[in-house]
């Protein structure tokens, strides 16, 4: 045990270096910075969302009433009606807005008295083409819609004398969701969004950490082999299996810490991005939260334990595969080339679970997907939400068996000559640039000898 702890410490010391920690810290800082920057912009946009600029050329009572009604929902900034579009935009921009609504002269009278179709114009200045580039143009367009709705309601009411709201929507749809035997009155979109927001981080973190951990251990073992420190270590009085287990444990611990740090940085990122929008969504989410509780779609501490355990098994499986590849590779480059396909073994189930229901795939495809050990970590959360305990258990057992087989293979490799004799390329061999160079030199020397 004393020797194992020495080996483990040595592995951790080799793996946790400034070169490996710095990119992680920079990544966390970048996520935090981006999250807060986007969140800040979103908050600013949201602060402007309730504001709108109106250039009203129509002095009619109809229009005044419309704007008054609009003022209950929006903070209206009136613009000087003598200005052209460009000048009016400049005035709106002084108020921190990048768009305005222009209501033409005679708007009210033409609609209500003459029954003529009228046009209201929204004018926007685009300064960039990012997601937030539209600025408050969305609010302005919303206000333009609100004007149209208000006019329609008034006209319907005066024409029919009936409740305009009823006339516009005489049929109301309601959704009821069933999850197994439980049901709740909630729309499916909200449920899917809420569940996805709970399970968003994990597959991304798992993908990043497994990819990173595989590269890390494959490079570490290949490096140790090419530096011949492995030969030195294995000729010391330590068992080969303890060297292997120390390597796996060291990489596993580092990977778990990385997973935690990534989870935290994603949390910072999402918190920063969504921080500004949470308040408006709160009212809606209260109803959804109630529905999720009714449907049993909220993860409990035990569920998180199962998810964490399966994440760890997935990491260990990836590490054992990478360790075998690294130990049989010719050098670090060959090890990295050999480990690269592991990414696809993770990417395939990750994408499939995100975009489709694996159960609906053709049998052969489904079987191939389930053979991949990482699939079960991606499907666990879904199975937990759906109360499919058998699915969770079978997935965990399969992963555990897969892990035992992989570790068994790694132990066998470590205890055989192959750990030193196998030097696989895992990539296309380059054409040898000379053949029989020594023979060539010997031949030259022989010829010289002949002449002498």
């Amino acid at each position: 045990m004393r020797k194992f702890s020495l080996l483990l410490k040595k592995e951790l010391r080799e793996l946790v270096t400034w070169q490996s920690v710095l990119p992680l810290l920079i990544g966390v800082l970048i996520m935090f910075f981006i999250g807060n920057t986007i969140g800040g912009i979103a908050k600013e946009e949201q602060a402007n969302y309730g504001k709108m600029a109106v250039l009203n050329e129509d002095d009619s009572a109809y229009t005044k009433k419309l704007i008054e009604d609009l003022g209950r929902e929006y903070q209206i900034k009136p613009l000087d009606k003598t200005l052209d579009d460009a000048q009016a935009l400049s005035q709106a921009e002084k108020e921190g807005l990048n768009s305005f609504i222009r209501i033409p002269a005679g708007f009210g009278a033409n609609i209500y008295e003459k029954g003529l179709e009228q046009e209201i114009k929204t004018v926007t200045r685009l300064k960039n083409f990012s997601i937030t580039g539209g600025g408050n143009s969305g609010a302005t367009a919303g206000a333009a819609n609100a004007i149209r709705e208000a006019v329609t309601t008034q006209m319907l009411q005066s024409a029919t004398g009936k409740d305009a709201a009823f006339l516009k929507a005489p049929v109301v749809s309601k959704e009821k969701i069933f999850i197994n035997q439980k049901s709740a009155d909630v729309d499916s979109g909200s449920v899917i969004n809420a569940v996805m927001s709970q399970s968003l981080f994990l597959p991304i973190v798992m993908f990043i950490v497994i990819t990173f951990a595989s590269q890390m251990i494959a490079a570490a073992i290949a490096n140790e082999k090419s530096d011949k420190t492995l030969e030195t270590l294995l000729s010391a009085p330590v068992s080969r299996t303890s060297v292997l287990v120390a390597k796996m444990s060291g990489a596993g611990i580092v990977a778990l810490v990385y997973a935690g740090v990534y989870m935290l940085s994603f949390y910072f990122y999402m918190n920063g991005v969504t921080g500004g929008m949470m308040a408006t969504a709160a009212a809606d989410s209260a109803a959804t939260t109630q529905a999720l509780q009714t449907l049993g779609l909220q993860l409990q501490a035990g569920d998180y334990l199962v998810i964490g355990a399966q994440l760890f098994i997935s990491i260990l499986i990836a590490l054992s595969i990478a360790l075998i590849i690294g130990a049989t590779a010719k050098d670090i480059k060959a090890a990295q080339a050999g480990v690269a396909p592991i990414v696809f073994l993770i990417l395939i189930p990750y994408m499939l679970t995100m975009f489709t229901d694996i159960e609906k795939l053709p049998f052969i495809v489904k079987a191939l997907i389930y053979i991949l050990p990482f699939t079960h970590s991606f499907t666990t959360m879904n199975n937990l939400f759906l109360g499919n305990s058998l699915g969770v258990a079978l997935g965990a057992v399969y992963q555990a068996v897969f892990l035992v087989i992989m570790i068994g293979l790694a132990v066998r490799l470590f205890n055989s000559d192959k750990i030193f004799t196998l030097k696989l390329e895992f990539r296309k061999k380059r054409q040898a640039y000379t053949n029989g160079q020594t023979g060539g030199l010997s031949a030259i020397n022989r010829r010289r000898g002949d002449r002498l």
Binding site: E231, T232, L234, S235, A236, P237, D417, F420
Partner: protein
């Protein structure tokens, strides 16, 4: 005769290739035995089998009376192996590396400290021992590794090309160290391409080629037998058969 290494009929096959074809030799206590031969002769394979890294296909190898297959862990307690052009853990300091290796060999803390101190003096690296090995020159790393190899008080130190890649002065220093330690009772099994080095340090020499150990003897015996001026000529005659 106090034998620390006894190799008898050792064969090692890699799939179809027989790298070592039934060689036999022995090393006495305090003796420096050199195995010389061209590239691919089977030197490194032989050293790796003796170091318990590879398993022999047939034959037997005993270190201090222990079988390298059956008593592998006990053999490892009695040997130290320095592979050709080996490195050390670049993120460790020189002192940290010696401490790590010492603690793998000795349970007793006092003993560990004593042996680390001895190895530190042997390296002659002084203040540089607190620097990371990644910042060392090839010569400094080799000195550190040689010190590590003898720090553990091995019955048999197995050194594959001990002066490979070293400059003249560093190589000279390493050779002197080996000779001094042999006088103190450490046995050495050395492999090298450098015939001058072998002639200088070794008590006995074995010439190996294509997996066959052609002859063993002192440098003087080999030179006399092949009417050669030096070991290099004797080696050439053995290998080419001329």
């Amino acid at each position: 005769m106090d034998l620390v290494l006894d190799v008898a009929g050792l064969k090692k096959k890699y799939k179809e290739t027989e790298a070592v074809k039934g060689i036999s030799f022995s090393v006495k206590r305090g003796e420096i035995f050199a195995l010389i031969g061209p590239n691919g002769a089977g030197k490194t394979t032989t050293l790796r089998v003796i170091s318990t890294l590879l398993k022999p296909t047939s034959g037997h190898v005993q270190v201090d009376g222990m079988d390298v297959v059956k008593d592998a862990i006990k053999v490892r307690e009695r040997i130290s192996y320095l592979p050709e052009e080996a490195g050390a853990y670049k993120n460790m300091t020189g002192a940290g590396y010696l401490s790590f290796m010492a603690s793998l060999f000795f349970d007793n803390t006092e003993k560990q400290k004593r042996q680390i101190k001895y190895a530190m003096e042997l390296t002659d690296l002084r203040d540089r021992l607190s620097d990371k090995i990644g910042s060392y020159s090839k010569g400094m790393t080799r000195k550190l590794l040689i010190a590590r190899a003898v720090m553990t008080e091995p019955v048999l130190a197995i050194l594959d090309e001990p002066t490979s890649g070293l400059d003249i002065l560093n190589a000279l220093e390493v050779r002197k160290t080996i000779k001094t330690l042999a006088k103190e009772g450490v046995s050495f099994l050395v492999s090298s391409h450098n015939m001058l080095e072998i002639e200088y340090i070794s008590d006995r020499v074995g010439i190996i080629d294509k997996g066959i150990l052609h002859i063993t003897g002192t440098s003087a015996e080999l030179k006399e037998k092949y009417s050669a001026n030096n070991l290099e000529e004797a080696f050439a005659k053995v290998v080419t058969g001329e």
